[in-house]
Every structure is written in C-alpha cells, then in structure tokens.
Symmetry: C2
Subunit: 324 residues, 2 copies
C-alpha cells in the first residue's frame, strides 16, 4: 500500500513533468504558475488512495488524478476572480499577477486540459468516469453560484449552507474517491460507499475551515485568525449564531455585522464573545465529529480487507485532529 | 438527404427543448438567455450535414451537434467579457445584462455542459470524438490569446494573422465536419478531408467578415459598416494594407491609426481610400476565393456519391456569394 506522503510525492513529480512550455506563453505561463503554487494535492492523492484500495497497480489512475488537480486549480483561479482575492497560498492570485482577461482564459484552458486526462481510461469504464467527473464539475459551479447568492442575503439557513458546501466542496472529494474506486475495479456498492465517505469528509473539512478561522492556532493554521468575522463571511459559525441568538444578543450581533467602520481586533473579539455565549464552538465541533464519524462508519462497510483501508482511515483521523 | 434549412430547424427545436430550468436560476438563466439569442447554428448543422453524407441516420449526431453549439456559445460569452462587448446579435451581452461574475460562471457551466453531449457516442468512436473536440477547444483558447496579444502589437504579419484565425475560428468549423464524419462512419481519409474542408471554409468565412465590415451592404450584412476601421481592429485588410503601403501612403495610414480624436465617418472614408489605392478589395477577394476553391477541391476527393455532397457544396457556394 502506498502512503499518503508517497502518493503526494508522485503527484508533485508528475505535475512538475507536465508539458506546459507551449505557445502562446501568455496562456500557458499562468497555468504553470497556478499549478506550481503547491497545495496539499489532497484530491489526486485521495483518488490514488481509493484506487490502491482495490488494485496494486495505480498507474492507470495517475492521469485522472492529475486531471482532478488541474480542474481543482481551475476552480480556484476563476473563484479568485469572482471573489476579488489578491492572495492564494501566500502568492499573488493569477488575475493579480497577470490580469483578469488572462486569468479568465487560462482558467478556461485548464478546465479543457483537465478533461483530456480522463480520456485514456479503459473503454468499459470511460463513460462512467466522464459522467462522474462532469456532473461534479457542474455541481461545483452551482455551489459557487449559491455561495455568491448568499453574500447579499441575511436569511441563509444552516440547511442551505450545508447544501452549498456540499456542492462547492464535498462532491469533488466524494468524486476523487469514487473515481479512484472505479479505476481500481471496485464494485458499484463500494464505489458508492467511497463517494459518500468523501462527501462526509468534505463537509467536515469545510466546517473545520470555518472553525479554524475563529478558534485555530495561527502558527498551525498558517493564516490569520478572524478573517471571516471581519468580512461578515456567512460561515457555519455565523449562521448558527444568527439562528440561536435571541433578543439582546441577536440585536448586538446583527448590529456588529452592519457596522462599516470598526477596529478589526475589537470586532473579532466581540463576535467571539457572542459565539462563546451561544456555545458555537461545541455546536460546530459536534457537527464536524458527526461528519467524520459518518465517514468512518461508511468505510467499515467497504468490502476489502481492513489493512487496505488503513491509509485512508489514517488520513481521515489526521484531518479530524486538526480541530482538537 | 436533409437540407441546411431542415437541419437548422432540428437544431433550433432541440435547443428549445433543453432542460435548463434548473437551480440556481442565477446560473442557468444566463445559459438559457445565451442559447435563445439565435444565430445561424452553422456549426451543429455542419456536423449533421457531414454525418448525413455517410449515414441516413443522423439521430446519433444530434446530441454532439448540440454540444458543439453550446460550446460555441460559451466561447462567445467569455470572449464578450474579454472584449468588453456590450451587444451580441443586437441584444445585451450576458455580462451586460447580468454581471461579469455571473457571465464568467455561467460560461464555465456551459463549457462543462457541452462536454456531456459527447459522452453517449458509441464506445468505439468515443475516444476519438473526445480528443477531437478537446484539442479544438484548447486551440480556440490559444487563438483568443493570440487575438488579445495582437491588440497591443503593430507588427502582426499576414501569416500570424491567418494562424490566429485558424485557431480561433476555423478549427471549430473543421471539427464540426470531422465529428459528423466520424459519427456517420466515414473512413480516416474522408474524415481528414472534411476537417481540411472545414478549416478552409472557416478561414474564408473569417476573411469575409473582415471584408464585409468595409465593403458590405449594411442592409444585407446587418451590422454597421466600418466598425473595425474605427477601432483599429487588426483585420486581414488592415494588416495587408500596412504590408503593402510605402512612403507617404504608409505614413498617412499609420497616422490615422494613431489619432485619438476623429470623426468616425471621415476615418472610415480615409482608410477606405488607402485600401482602394492599394487594391485591398481585390487582394482580399482573391484570398477568400482561394480558401473556398481549396474547400471545393478537397470535397471532390471525398469518396461518396456526388449527390451526397450536394447540400454541403450548396452551402459553401452560398457562403462564398456573400462577397460578390
């Protein structure tokens, strides 16, 4: 069995070997830049881990795993344009370093390139691989649109929020595991179990991101704390707080959200006090645990020997530990 | 044999039946809007015509033809953002009617949707269909990037320009015919002949567009004359004129291009005078005829009965007549 680390190395070395020195350089330069910025390569590694669960030979899963990573980076590139984000992984975003037209077009090129990495799958699985990837890609667009819609709404419910992150984040994690399973030769039931496992990991992971913005350790988390609070981002924590707050607390919280001028540190600390009053930390941890426990229960039902699940189980547990 | 008109009707009625009433409406509304704006549906009709050349049954070519039309409209949508175009087919462009973020994202969704229309092709041709479509899609991005690069360059050569429009416009016309041929069961040689035929049609067609902006009849052409001249657009005519002009004429022409303030009608008429002096009309007509004649010569070599070529030949001749 391959370890997470060894698969990460394989993915990184494959990405370094991609033939991206093509013309026009204004199109392919940004693609090289976006793909070389790093990241944890979680999606391609999950695809390879799932394949390895059913097959010793992961070579036929390599290209699809790269397609998934290229696709993921395309979504980041276009999302950064829509979100006006100037930094990604501590480097200027593509539209900041180049310009918006170039970022738009090189994003399109990345999406097109991503598809080509799935075409070499064996004929008997090609249609299912393509349909899985394609449906996921469209769902991610839907999720991004809901996310943008939520910005101008004050009445987003927890269910709506969970549906949005399911589309925007977790179907891709689900599909990574599902595609690996299909390519590795898993049966329909195990394939579906892995898809659902991935969806739960994705939901838990996104809620963790929300959680760590408020309760994370700057040194471990790597980005500054409270950014979501400063920008009124509709996270699980804020939506839950708006749902639970009553009377004076509710008014206090909504007034803080309305203020145009404030000292960031003061707003962060005031909103955290409201969160503390409403036990938002525990509510969020509970929800995260639920998703990770669901993932573990689904994993139990997969019909391979326990030792073949070890690497994925280790990963899930490692992800969960980020919160505690 | 189906006529061009009857295939156009089939495509339009299929597009009207697409299930695009999905949520979020902010994502799918713009897709409906873009696809309902009309247009001549040339690419899907060419795909169906090519299929019909080899097979009475065109049903299996319908979905791929829709995929091609959806893809084409995706490129228009994103190009309009990059070109800051406010009108398309006399209606507000998507980013003007909605906003840039929505246009960007619904364009992404259209590209993803386009792919799904190819997945049902029979297993034995699916990989070739996908590779043909995918390579073309990437070439179109390259063409668009070259087009943007040319805006800030004064030394674009005719060869560079022709290579740009080959990528941006004509490979898609070539692929429409090639995909129809593959789906219709044509052999490799006929498939390649149709691809090259389409590329020549596409090149001729784009030069015609350039030509008609200067020498077209407003009533027939449907858009105002001289727009390319006013905006200094690097068309075949302008690049050829810059190549042929010497001494006083060259200085006169380049001075006109540099002027920031001018009366549009005066600039159009002055640039036309330079074009007349340099015989640009005849040069352009000659080049267009060359492309259309190449297309006709390639058609002759296709190994089906002459009557099966009739509809495509009629179309090529009809397209050519636009100039004269």
């Amino acid at each position: 069995m391959y370890s997470f680390g060894s698969l990460q190395e394989i993915v990184n070395s494959e990405i370094n070997c991609l033939d991206l020195n093509k013309t026009p350089d204004e199109l392919y330069g940004p693609v090289r830049y976006a793909l070389s910025a790093g990241g944890k390569r979680i999606r391609p590694v999950l695809l390879l881990l799932a394949c390895n669960m059913f097959s010793e030979d992961i070579s036929k899963a390599i290209r699809p795993s790269l397609g998934l990573e290229i696709f993921h980076n395309f979504t980041l590139l276009h999302d950064d344009i829509m979100d006006n984000a100037s930094l990604r992984r501590n480097q200027p975003t593509v539209h900041t370093k180049y310009n918006t037209d170039i970022a738009l077009l090189s994003g399109d090129a990345m999406m097109i390139m991503a598809y080509s990495y799935f075409f070499d799958c064996e004929e008997n699985i090609l249609p299912e691989v393509l349909k899985t990837f394609n449906q996921t890609a469209l769902q991610i667009c839907e999720g991004q649109q809901y996310d943008m819609n939520f910005e101008s709404r004050d009445d987003v419910t927890i269910d709506e929020y969970l549906y949005m992150i399911e589309l925007k984040t977790s179907v891709l994690i689900g599909s990574a595991l599902k595609l690996g399973a299909i390519i590795g030769g898993a049966g329909d039931k195990d394939t579906q179990l892995l898809y659902d496992t991935g969806k739960n990991i994705g939901l838990g992971f996104q809620l963790q991101d929300d959680y760590l913005d408020v309760y994370g350790d700057v040194k471990v988390f790597g980005k500054s704390i409270g950014g979501d609070i400063v920008s009124n981002k509709k996270t699980y924590l804020l939506i839950k707080a708006l749902e639970l707050a009553k009377g004076k607390t509710y008014n206090h919280l909504t007034n803080m959200l309305k203020k145009d001028e404030f000292v960031p540190e003061e707003k962060i600390s005031a909103v955290r006090s409201v969160y503390d009053e409403l036990d938002i930390m525990d509510h969020t941890r509970e929800q995260i645990s639920e998703y990770f426990n669901s993932a573990l229960r689904l994993m139990e039902q997969i019909s391979v020997k326990e030792e073949r699940k070890d690497e994925l189980l280790k990963l899930i547990k490692k992800l969960l530990v980020r919160v505690y």
